[in-house]
């Protein structure tokens, strides 16, 4: 029998974690989110078979991918706070504003998905080594990115309560506001969690979680993983947010105004037409 340690090492040698670097990789990430969210009943069918929002159009938004050759097997998107706020402000605006009022810099991790073709349904993330490492390594690069590149104070996330244990074990705390029902995901239940990025290392040590320290905090961050992030050109914005998904059509004037300010050299009359 093959040593499971050799098998798992071999498995992860075939997976590349980094920021999405092309329109094609973004599209594969958006498609994976759509497919997996459809399976969970979070989305209605759409003709584009993609899931994205106005936040994906912002230049500061970053999508991470776990690539096996050219297949996206897992993905998550980081949305820094901005005048458009965060997607979860729809439900937890008051609670997020408390952190903002303290001068804290926030981001949201959104659109987290992994391919159920690999592991099937009902495989618990915390109890299956391969699934756990698939997601935890994605989290590790995200954590390095938000700490080093973004310098945020809090990572915020709206999670289905069935996943709450996983985030609690990673030192996420309840943001407050209780459980709510999120219309963006067909009314699925959600609770808001937040992670104080500045105190994670202390918590690992004080709570005897050396394993988490080893998983997320050892070794230098590989900043090459964050390099050459795809920059959306006018044709990319048109492709995703006008032709594929009607995001710009449905955007508010405030959202469009801010978007235009993010891309001062782009002719939005041509993008949106």
């Amino acid at each position: 029998m093959v040593d499971n340690g050799i098998a798992i090492k071999s498995l992860f040698e075939g997976i590349e974690y980094r920021v999405a670097r092309s329109r094609e990789e973004l599209e594969k990430a958006y498609r994976l989110v759509y497919q997996e969210y459809r399976k969970q009943g979070y989305l209605d069918e759409n003709t584009s078979k993609l899931q994205a929002s106005v936040y994906n159009a912002l230049p500061q938004t970053t999508t991470f991918v776990a690539l096996v050759d050219d297949v996206v097997t897992a993905t998550a998107t980081i949305i820094p706070d901005s005048p458009l706020e965060l997607p979860m402000d729809d439900l937890y605006h008051a609670e997020l504003n408390e952190l903002r009022g303290e001068g804290k810099k926030l981001c949201e991790v959104s659109m987290l998905a992994s391919s159920s073709e690999l592991f099937g349904e009902g495989v618990s993330l915390m109890l299956n080594a391969k699934k756990m490492f698939l997601i935890f390594f994605l989290f590790k690069y995200i954590f390095d990115y938000v700490r080093i590149e973004l310098g945020v104070d809090y990572i915020c996330i709206a999670v289905n309560p069935k996943h709450a244990n996983t985030y609690d074990s990673l030192f996420f705390k309840n943001l407050g506001g209780g459980m709510k029902y999120y219309s963006k995901v067909n009314g699925a239940p959600a609770i808001a969690k937040c992670l104080n990025v500045q105190t994670v290392d202390e918590q690992c040590i004080s709570r005897g979680r050396q394993s988490l320290y080893k998983m997320f905090l050892t070794g230098p961050a590989d900043r090459d993983k964050f390099s050459r992030k795809v920059e959306l050109k006018p044709e990319d914005l048109k492709y995703f947010f006008v032709e594929k998904i009607k995001v710009f059509r449905d955007a508010t004037p405030q959202q469009l105004s801010y978007l235009k300010s993010c891309y001062p050299s782009y002719d939005f009359s041509r993008i949106i037409s």
Partner: protein, 151 residues
Amino acid sequence: MTSNLKKIKEIIASDKRSCERLELPLKIRYLRAMSPADQWSDYVWLDNIGGEGLGFTDDFELSMGDKIDIELKIPSERKSFYMGGEIVWIRRNFLRRGEIHLGKYSYGLKIYRLEEEDKKKFEQFISDSIIEKYLDDQGKFRKREGKSYGR
């Protein structure tokens, strides 16, 4: 399908169980069927443990389908975990000359009852133990599996 993806799917598909099994120096004791309410077994070492079940060896004969109450002690927790388990696998052990007596029967047990608060801590313990098993102190995969704690 690309070759790396095929290889990854094969590695994942080769897993017999959906949950990792760990060899850890843990002990349980259990309430035997048909025994007085306060008659616990002696403590026995586990053969292995995972999120859904555990294996142990003992001289006492249990039957397939038996449901037993188990006390599991975990070093990082002050309080023991109490869970309900069902025997789903039995192997009779026959000793050869010179072999150490490990117990007449080896059992596989499926956990069917665990309090919600204990479940959180138990899953966290398993998850942490998985990280310990596979990653070295630099957070890289070990060249060989982590030390296997036997008896």
